[in-house]
Symmetry: C2
Amino acid sequence: MKYIESVKNPKVKQWKKLHTKKERDLTGTFLAEGYHLVEEALKDKDQIVELIISEASEIPSSWNLDGISITMAPPEVLKAISDTETPQGAAAVCRRLEAKGSDSWSRVLMIDSLQDPGNLGTLIRTADAAGIDGIVLGEGTVDLYNSKVIRSSQGSIFHLPAVKGEIGEWAGKLKERGVSVYGTSLAGGFDYKTVQSGGSFALLIGNEGSGVSEELLGLTDQNLYIPIHGQAESLNAAIAAGILLYHLRG
Amino acid sequence: MKYIESVKNPKVKQWKKLHTKKERDLTGTFLAEGYHLVEEALKDKDQIVELIISEASEIPSSWNLDGISITMAPPEVLKAISDTETPQGAAAVCRRLEAKGSDSWSRVLMIDSLQDPGNLGTLIRTADAAGIDGIVLGEGTVDLYNSKVIRSSQGSIFHLPAVKGEIGEWAGKLKERGVSVYGTSLAGGFDYKTVQSGGSFALLIGNEGSGVSEELLGLTDQNLYIPIHGQAESLNAAIAAGILLYHLRG
């Protein structure tokens, strides 16, 4: 166990830098804050580079910390590296989850140009619940390791692999492998309930405002819509994904 | 059309007060900010007490403002009454939507002790999309007219009636009328897919952390769960409601 005594320790500066995408990309690591997220990360210890624990807090007795590098620090340090208003007594520097075997995924969520970090986090959590194999993040999508994404994912970011990719290429490869590729569209296509559940599939969700681009909608097997029965103009992207993923997986 | 010239006008103080629940309850009105919400409110003009428009903005030519009381004001006024960082050039003081005929609703969403305003707004939007007749808000649920609820509802608050009520009483009355009452539970009950779609129903959604109370779960016809296939611990309340409402309505 290591100790640091002040926010002036150079490690603190290093940890704070992880709030920038540049530093996260450079180091391949990111910061997860709070007991719940640390607990989720601990389920696969290889993901943890080091834990930072406040001297003022107790380590939950259920945590198995064998082999984990731990740094104890005063509460001010936890506060300094946090981007929440009420920092908790634990944080972890984590490695990105490797997306092994992505070329055999048979239930895939593809996301194009999604902007809102809360939406992306909720999508990851929902896809995890629905038993998806992995996520493909297309260009223009908010950074996966943004702290708000991590928080909204409620820890699913530690369980569900995600890769950046070119959605058009992915659609082509998935179709070659016999995986049905479904776009989502407000403007037309098929009522999602007409699609048979239970097979392999890839679902493509688009930008909150403009949806999936016309170009990508042209590359899918079928485009699906969810009927709007009332006066709402649309569904939230994560809600739509939840309804469709649970329908498609059967 | 009326004009006000400064943020010191007493009307501005009155509008700002609508950010408190007390004043909203006292007056039976609330404030909706931004072009999209005003546009949704205009679909049923009886709901609008008055519009506040910035002199620096253009009124969209598609708006039919016949019979609407309008006050023009400098941009500072719109800024002063807004609780967003980037106020838009229009706001409306609105009357609460009357919940007519609630004793004949046959598709009902009941919400118990939901805390997060963003979640409640998204639930209202989702319930509107799913063609629900009305919403019952049980005790301990965040105020319906909280500005974040209104924003997240994306205008569905103007279309979908909601009443406050005692969930237990409502469950009893609905069952008497032959409406199936479904609770939601992580801990047991029936896989939602075993429930036949298409009939009349009332769905009960609970608190984000603790779900529906044991007491209320004892008053339903059946309690449903959504299977978790991956490692997520649960689904977001609004996502779960979306999946269940779209399944139940068929």
